[in-house]
Every structure is written in C-alpha cells, then in structure tokens.
Symmetry: C2
Subunit: 224 residues, 2 copies
DNA sequence: CAAATATAAAAGTATTACTATCAATATTAT
DNA sequence: ATAATATTGATAGTAATACTTTTATATTTG
C-alpha cells in the first residue's frame, strides 16, 4: 500500500498527510466533502470545521485546495496503475493483456476496499467530476514541468504501449490511449447527467463500448 | 447571422447582449480576457475596467460569469452547427457527409472571420480550455433542465445520426459521437500542453486521427 | 523535566462576488 | 422642446473566500 504513494510528487504537499492522524483525516474528509458539495464550494475552512480542526492547520499540509486535488488525483491514478500492472502481469497474449488493462481502467469502481482512510469508490466519482479542472488551468505548463501529472502520463503511456503491442502498424496509439482515458471518465459523466448523449446505461458499460472500439480499430497481428 | 443566436437560451442573460453596444463590448472583451487570463482569474470588475464601464452595468446583462461562459459556449456551438449544416447540406453520399461533418467539427478554426464583435478563433480556444467547466458542476442537472446545453446536445445528436446513416448496425453511435466531440477538444489541448500524450502535431491533425478512427470503426453499408 | 514540535484559536488582509442606492446620461414618446 | 423612461456609471456596502500571521496550548521526544 505504501507503494501507492509512489509517484506522488512531494511538492504537492507541505507536510506528508500520511505522516499524521490529522493528515489522514484531511484526506479522508476532503474526499467526502468534495464529492458532496463539489470542488468549487469546498473550502479549507469547511473542512476544518468538519474534522474539528482549524483552517490554519490544514494550510500546513496543503498550500491550497488545487494542490490537494492534484494530490488526490495522483493517488487515484497511482492506485489504478497498481491494479492495472497487477492484473495484467504475466498475461502472455497481447490482446488479452490490453483487454484486461481497459477493463481495469474503464470499469466502475464498485467494491469499497475501505481498509484505508481513502474511499476509492468516492474518489473515483471525484475524478469523474473534477479531474479535468486540475489541468484546465493557466498554470498547467508550469505544473506539468514540476511533475504533478507524471503518474497519469505514465499510465496513458502504458496503455499506448499495449496498443502498439497488439497492432504495431496503428498510427495513433497514444491518441487512442488518451482518448480512452478521458473518454471513459466522460462516458460515466454522461451516463449520469446527459443520458441522451451516450449509449452506456445499466446494461451497457463503457467497458463494452471501448472494448468494441479497440476491436474494430486495431488489426490483430498474427502471432509470430 | 441572427440565426446564430438561435438556440441560445434566453435565461442565460438578463438583458440580451446583442441589443446594445455595451452588451457587444461585454461579449467581445470577455472572450479576449478569458483567453488571456483563464476563466478563474477573470472577473466582471476587471472586465468593466477593460471596457471603461462598470461592474454593476455588466451584472445587468449576466447574473454571473458562469452564465456568461454558458452563453459563449452556446454561441460557439450554434456557430459550429450552422457551419456544419451548411457544409453538409445536399451531400448525397452518407460517408462523405459524415466525413465533412467531422472536418468542420475537428478542424482548427484558423481564419478570423472578424465581421462581428466575436472572434471565433479565440472563442474556439476558450472552448478547448474552459468548456468542461461549464458542465462539471453541482448545478448541471438543474441547468440542463433549463435548456442551457441544448445547442450542444443537438449537435452531438446530428453527428450520431450521420454515423447511423453510414452504419446502421453500429451499436454505439451516440457514444462515438460524444467521444469525437469531447475527444477533439481534448486532442487540441494535449497537443498544446501534453504533446507526449497525443500523436497530433504540426503535421498530424485531430481530423486525420478521428477520420481514421471512423473509417476503422464503421462498416460502410453498400448503396442500396 | 525541558525543549521541540504540532495543533488550535483568533485576528487580519486583500480579493471576490455580488447587491443596493443614487446620480448622470441617453433615448423615446408626446 | 419637454417630460417621461430607460440605461449606464459611480460609490458604497456585505458576506464569503483564500489566504497569512501571531500567539497560545497541547503533545511528543530526548
């Protein structure tokens, strides 16, 4: 589990929230609150009240709520990456491997692991609703240079490599990979708020849509 | 040109910005400023100063900057829809028609029409960087009910219908359409800020990527 | 037990996102 | 031309946000 934090840039926090009870409470409660009230309405003052702590104490862990969102996102992608690497490890067939990766990536996080202070089910919802806001900013280039998006970028690249392994001739592997990442979050969002803009529903999952898309798009090369 | 405003929900503004010089200046300058400083830093106070008017006067046109963003987005999608309908009108071949639609949709807005107060080139940049923020909110369901996203939804549906005309057996036409809409904006964003996450660059356009994707995904039915 | 460290409480600042009031100008109607 | 009306501008005010600073109080550690 420690390894999950691997890749979370140290500049995202002033003091490691995993290093104290207060830090863990900040993470735990911020996930719940951002999900409930949305990122815009969420403030450190409200968070402080909710965990019976003080605004100023939270500022000793995170510079601002934007950095906290980047931290939560990094944690999420690191967690997904771990699950993806674990689930695809040792699969010899490139096609099956890719399909497994997309399964991890696009499947709804349903079971609540709940063995840490981090609720992955709710964190997944936050990522669906708020992740774009973490990079659609004027500071994105500077923050990218600082390495705040490394975990996400590494994951998209992993998928692109799996795509290339299946069809080395496909000319847009990295665009397809980033489309699946962004598109998966988007289809879940549409399912909830704009059902008329997606074919995904209770019986059709984003996994099916994207698996089908991959099948149609890639030419499986014969085993050599 | 008047027809462009068709579909812009009247509840998005308190007073029609097209009905006065001040209103037009608000639209013109807000596009420039949101592009320059980003939506978060943009305020009505700054806008007022920039156009030598007053904060309170701007509030007589728009309730808040969120509604202004929704207005600009509606204008943009209405403009694109007009261009798309115009460009595809009368094309008898379904495949060519679909390809033309995707061309309009994904091609970079390069030429500055500049015959109104609205700079479409810059507005396109705003849509790439800020559009998601207009619906990734806690109020999205209420605002959707109010009809603030109608133009966009109509456009996605138009594309889905063209997809169905080409391949009536394809099971995910509306998901594919929404993927292309969102994905096109996303690929442009990546090209600028995360070039390692896209195959699009100076020589490869999102149009080529999505045209290829459509070609691979849809089975063209023989003319009957 | 003393020293260091972490947290809490309180107060303060600048800015945002408005609202309200009133005066100054245009515009329009008679 | 004048009165009535609508529009805009200027000013002030409020509550909340996004912090920073200072001081006091716990808690931990050596």
């Amino acid at each position: 589990m420690q390894s999950l934090r691997m890749g979370i840039n140290e500049k995202l926090y002033l003091k490691d929230p995993e290093s104290s009870d207060l830090g863990k409470k900040i993470i735990e409660q911020s996930i719940l609150m951002i999900n409930e009230m949305g990122f815009e309405s969420f403030t450190f003052k409200k968070l402080g009240t909710a965990i019976s702590s003080n605004e100023s104490s939270i500022y000793r862990y995170f510079e601002n709520k934007h950095k906290l969102l980047l931290y939560l996102a990094s944690w999420y992608w690191g967690w997904l990456e771990y699950r993806m690497v674990f689930a695809t490890y040792g699969i010899p067939d490139d096609e099956r491997k890719l399909r497994k990766a997309i399964e991890i990536l696009t499947q709804n996080v349903e079971e609540d692991n709940a063995f840490t202070h981090i609720n992955e089910v709710i964190l997944n919802k936050i990522v669906i609703n708020e992740y774009s806001k973490s990079y659609l900013t004027k500071e994105v280039d500077k923050e990218n240079k600082e390495g705040y998006f490394l975990v996400y970028k590494r994951m998209v690249n992993r998928l692109a490599e799996m795509i290339m392994a299946v069809d080395g001739d496909y000319p847009y592997p990295i665009s397809l990979a980033s489309t699946i990442f962004e598109g998966s979050l988007h289809q879940y969002f549409l399912q909830e708020h704009f059902p008329a803009l997606t074919n995904c529903n209770e019986s059709v999952t984003p996994l099916e849509y994207f698996t089908d898309l991959i099948n149609r798009t890639l030419n499986v090369k014969p085993n050599d």
